[in-house]
């Protein structure tokens, strides 16, 4: 083993501040000279500070107190969460491939994308808590079993796309999930389940913030065009768009992958989350943070996207 070069002095570490998401990544890398090792440490600190136990959360739920409506919500949530692992696996692969494409051409962009790929491991692990908690609860509650066939079907990996589109889509997916979980937390009367919904919703908000930060970094670099973020937002908010999920008149039957929002089953007696306006507002806010462009209605979003398309 070769000798490790030694510094003359040890690093003087500033007093520990709260872990946070680096929101202005392009500037942090280009102007502040922050490295991937430093960014990774921030990710690790935040991840550790937010850890919770799925086993303890599930144990805290009083099964007899879970209403019929809540049971349907838990069953849907468990199935939907199955699609996050293939999402995270794909992100790790796509990010590494895209990072190498930028190396030597724009190293700051390569670093932003590598930071995203590195973070995907935390995202994957955190989402595992969601998936296993809800599916375990569904099992304990004696709900309809998820077959191995469905499990494997929901693990299909989404086809690759432009990196900015991918990150925007993931931001919006987290927004829709977070709003749904917030609704569920308000509705349920069972304290343990309420705590679980709140915890999962808070995780989804944190994930949304990460995706927005990575997407903003790409737009700030000037290498990715804002139109891609707007295209995805329009795909969700247009008439008959994705944000309406399985309530749409027509849901595509895809061979390639499963979009969780298309698979929610609204059954009789289920107090189903909707809150379309809240989702719309959060999507506009995300677009503003990613691109710096403000829109406040679906029509304005479409007009802006069409202008950007040219």
């Amino acid at each position: 083993m070769s000798a490790v070069p030694q510094r003359r002095e040890v690093l003087r570490v500033p007093p520990t501040r709260k872990a946070e998401i680096v929101a202005d990544l392009y500037r942090a890398i280009r102007e502040e000279g922050r490295t991937l090792v430093e960014l990774e440490w921030e990710q690790q600190r935040l991840h550790e500070s937010r850890r919770w136990s799925a086993v303890e959360r599930v144990d805290a739920v009083e099964l007899e107190g879970v209403s019929a409506s809540d049971r349907l919500v838990v069953w849907n949530a468990g199935r939907a969460e199955l699609t996050t692992k293939p999402g995270a696996d794909r992100l790790a692969r796509l990010a590494d491939q895209e990072c190498r494409r930028w190396q030597g051409r724009n190293d700051a962009v390569a670093s932003i994308i590598q930071a995203c790929g590195t973070w995907s491991r935390y995202w994957n692990e955190e989402e595992a808590h969601h998936e296993t908690s809800f599916n375990r609860l569904a099992l304990l509650l004696g709900l309809e079993r998820i077959s191995d066939e469905t499990f494997i079907e929901f693990r299909k990996i989404f086809p690759d796309d432009d990196m900015l589109r991918t990150l925007t889509l993931l931001s919006i997916s987290e927004i829709v999930a977070a709003v749904n979980y917030a609704h569920c937390a308000r509705i349920t009367q069972e304290p343990g389940l309420k705590a679980l919904f709140k915890q999962v919703g808070a995780d989804e908000i944190q994930h949304m913030n990460y995706f927005i930060a990575f997407a903003k970094g790409l737009v700030d670099s000037g290498e990715y065009r804002a139109k891609e973020a707007f295209a995805v937002a329009h795909l969700f908010l247009r008439e008959g768009g994705e944000v309406q999920g399985s309530r749409r008149e027509h849901v595509e039957q895809r061979e390639t992958h499963v979009n969780w929002w298309d698979q929610l089953e609204y059954r009789e007696g289920m107090n189903a989350p909707d809150a379309a306006e809240k989702k719309e507002t959060l999507i506009f806010h995300a677009l503003k943070r990613i691109t710096g462009i403000t829109v406040s209605s679906a029509e304005e979003l479409e007009d802006t996207w069409m202008e950007l398309v040219g």
């Binding site: 086809p159 690759d160 796309d161 589109r165 139109k227 295209a231 995805v232 329009h234 795909l235 247009r238 008439e239 008959g240 768009g241 749409r248 027509h250 595509e252 479409e302 996207w305 069409m306 398309v309 040219g310």
Partner: protein, 99 residues
């Protein structure tokens, strides 16, 4: 103002340009949107297709002052149906102007 037939030709030409496929290939077989994505080397998914239609709509607005907004269309929709949606909207706006 160009005639309805001239506008139809114009829209078909723009579809062809933005999809990167010949008019014969697109309209001859009356391809579905899914088939267009598969055939065109420029298209990877429905977002690309949405953008191709937006470019056609932008060209119509710039050159003829007509504004077409497309609803979400299923991937098994045939291109003739998309063309029909464009033409209906164009016709409606022409009538509004004439009134």
């Amino acid at each position: 103002m160009p005639s309805a037939d001239e506008l139809k030709d114009y829209i078909q030409k723009k579809f062809s340009e933005h999809l990167g496929l010949s008019q014969e290939e697109i309209f001859g077989a009356d391809l579905t949107l899914a088939a267009l994505i598969t055939r065109s080397e420029r298209m990877a998914n429905s977002v690309d297709l949405m953008e191709a239609f937006a470019r056609t709509s932008n060209a119509l607005r710039r050159e003829h002052g007509l504004r077409v907004r497309l609803p979400a269309l299923a991937l098994d929709t045939r291109i003739s149906k998309v063309l029909e949606v464009f033409l209906q909207e164009v016709q409606r706006q022409r009538e509004e102007r004439a009134a």
